[in-house]
């Protein structure tokens, strides 16, 4: 990483290859629309490449990368909202097959994407970073520039919204863990 910051092109290429899929995954879950997610991924990678010489390594590289990815994804969301053209993109789940022909996983994924689209960005972004990237609350707070408690409450709100949207308001069977998901982060 230090080599890339110092201007080493091949080092940057390695970093971009290492982070591409995770950046794209974050963009995909935030932007919802697949084409928009690809655009946001491209924008994020361009921003990383143009700015890496300025990166001072005071924070984790991944934190910086996800901050850029999140900004790019939210920019794409806002751009799409300005266009305000109804989409028939099947990634929103509107073209979900009615019968049982489609594989359950695909249907579930489309339903999830459609549900995520109904969760406001404010809550969706920390939820995606938490569940998709296994990111602790503290790092999400750093990425988004908000307090840790705000991260915690926003994720909680996002989960509530998702459960309601998906018609699954009840909690899952009891699991005796300190953390809501039983993994990393300060509860």
């Amino acid at each position: 990483m230090a080599a890339a910051v110092a201007g080493d092109r091949s080092a940057l290429e390695q970093l971009l290859r290492a982070h591409h899929d995770s950046v794209r995954a974050v963009c995909f879950r935030i932007v919802i629309d697949r084409g928009g997610a690809e655009d946001a991924t491209q924008a994020a990678l361009l921003a990383i490449a143009r700015s890496i010489r300025r990166f001072k390594m005071d924070s984790k590289f991944s934190t910086w990368v996800y901050r850029i990815a999140t900004n790019a994804a939210l920019d794409e969301v806002r751009r799409a909202q300005r266009k305000a053209v109804p989409t028939e993109d099947e990634s929103l789940g509107r073209a979900m097959p009615a019968g049982a022909d489609a594989a359950d996983g695909i249907v579930e994924s489309m339903a999830l994407q459609a549900a995520l689209a109904q969760v406001s960005e404010e809550f969706r972004v920390p939820l995606v970073l938490f569940h998709l990237q296994d990111m602790p609350y503290e790092e999400i707070a750093e990425v988004l520039g908000i307090p840790v408690n705000t991260v915690r409450s926003r994720i909680s709100r996002a989960r509530q919204q998702l459960r309601v949207i998906l018609g699954n308001p009840g909690p899952p069977p009891d699991r005796h863990t300190q953390d809501p998901e039983g993994h990393r982060g300060t509860p």
């Binding site: 700015s51 990166f55 569940h131 909680s156 509530q160 909690p171």
Partner: protein, 187 residues
């Protein structure tokens, strides 16, 4: 109010959230190639600006940078022309209003705004600040940090080098705008 048990997502939902469709390999390569090209381009631009500042050029760019800091919350990007008036030469992206201001307007601005004395930029109470202690470094060795402003909750840093004034987001180090020396300013 919710407790942590209410706050869980069903495992199958978390699994679905993580199951992002894989990228198209060709699109992935295109993303990385474009980013590397941007990296090369940024490197060329950075090397081009490492040039000692001629006094007049430094003064002009210093004034422009000072105005930019003063007006950064949304006005324009201005520079003093030969007529003694201050005119907008370009606009900030994302719907920043383009305005024309008089020098007296700027004189009445915040006293923390940098000023130009004897051809060099000065920040009240201190000389031009070095780049240490900032979240982002300057693009080139010749660039100086001259000030900052807050816009939409995001801190923006202003750097001046021989031929450019550059505004950088402090949280991601992305360049927001890079203003090149206008043609009517001679060193």
């Amino acid at each position: 109010m919710t407790n942590e048990h209410d706050d869980r997502l069903p495992d199958e939902l978390v699994a679905a959230l993580r199951a992002v469709p894989p990228p198209d390999p060709q699109v992935r390569e295109a993303h990385i190639s474009a980013a590397l090209a941007a990296f090369d381009e940024a490197g060329d631009a950075g090397r081009g600006s490492i040039t000692p500042l001629a006094p007049r050029r430094r003064a002009v760019l210093g004034i422009a940078a000072a105005l930019l800091v003063a007006l950064g919350a949304g006005a324009g990007y201005a520079v003093r022309g030969d007529s003694g008036t201050v005119r907008t030469v370009t606009e900030l992206p994302e719907a920043a209003a383009v305005t024309t201001v008089s020098p007296s307007t700027v004189q009445g601005a915040d006293t923390s705004v940098p000023t130009v004395k004897n051809g060099s930029v000065e920040v009240p109470g201190s000389p031009v600040r070095p780049n240490s202690g900032l979240p982002c470094t300057a693009e080139s060795d010749g660039a100086l940090y001259v000030g900052q402003y807050l816009r939409d909750g995001v801190l923006h840093l202003v750097f001046v080098s021989a031929f450019t004034i550059e505004v950088v987001r402090a949280d991601t180090c992305e360049t927001i705008v890079a203003y090149q020396q206008p043609a009517d300013i001679t060193p």
